[in-house]
Amino acid sequence: MWIAVVSIIVAIGIGVAIGVSRAKKIKALQDEGKIIRRDIHYAEKGEEFTSKIGSYGALKQTLETLGIPCAAEGNTATQILFSGTDFKARLYKKAFDEPSGIGVYRFEFTHWKTGGYSYANETGMNMLLTTVEKAFLRLDPNTGVSTYALQFTTKHTLF
């Protein structure tokens, strides 16, 4: 009997310790400004930035200066593809008004895995989006942002 009681207490203790450790880690990242508190379903909406950032190259350079928290590939003149653990995203130029220099850029997650009640790599996704937002803010403090619904489907795999 007492073995069962001790086992339950140990299991609860381990669960609490993992939860506290995770919460501390998230708090530290928030304090450092690497992530911000977001809506639980934030990846289901894309973000559209209206900004005067100069050239697209300047945006890429600023992102690199800030430190992209995952692999960035396929860097064409108008699109950056991000590939992290359990997620993929892209940042692309939607429109550009030559006379005013104002461009419309879209950032969206294209693939992600879910785990528990959240995203499998919520921290990594949040870090990437925060880095992108900060890059726009650094280049143009008057950047406007709006969201749009993404067209996506849920798919379960066997393994």
Binding site: I36, R37, E133, F136, L137, S146, T153, T154, H156
Partner: protein, 65 residues
């Protein structure tokens, strides 16, 4: 039934139950996906009929947090 046969029978039963559960789970997940995707499509269509919100200031968004 000998001891060896009994074990074989037990393992076989476990394997059959496991495979059945796997198949039922997979079909259930696929059905859930289908319902979820249909519900999302309906919600997106309803939202698409609403006027788009004007962009907010990114700096203000960060100032709020």
């Amino acid at each position: 039934m000998g001891n060896g046969e009994a074990w074989l029978y037990l393992i076989g039963m476990f394997a059959i139950v496991f495979v059945i559960m796997l198949i039922v789970g997979f079909i259930g997940n696929k059905a859930t996906d289908k319902m979820e995707n249909a519900a999302r499509a309906r919600r997106d269509r309803a939202q698409g009929q609403q006027p788009a919100k004007p962009p907010e200031s990114l700096a203000q968004r960060y100032a709020k947090r």
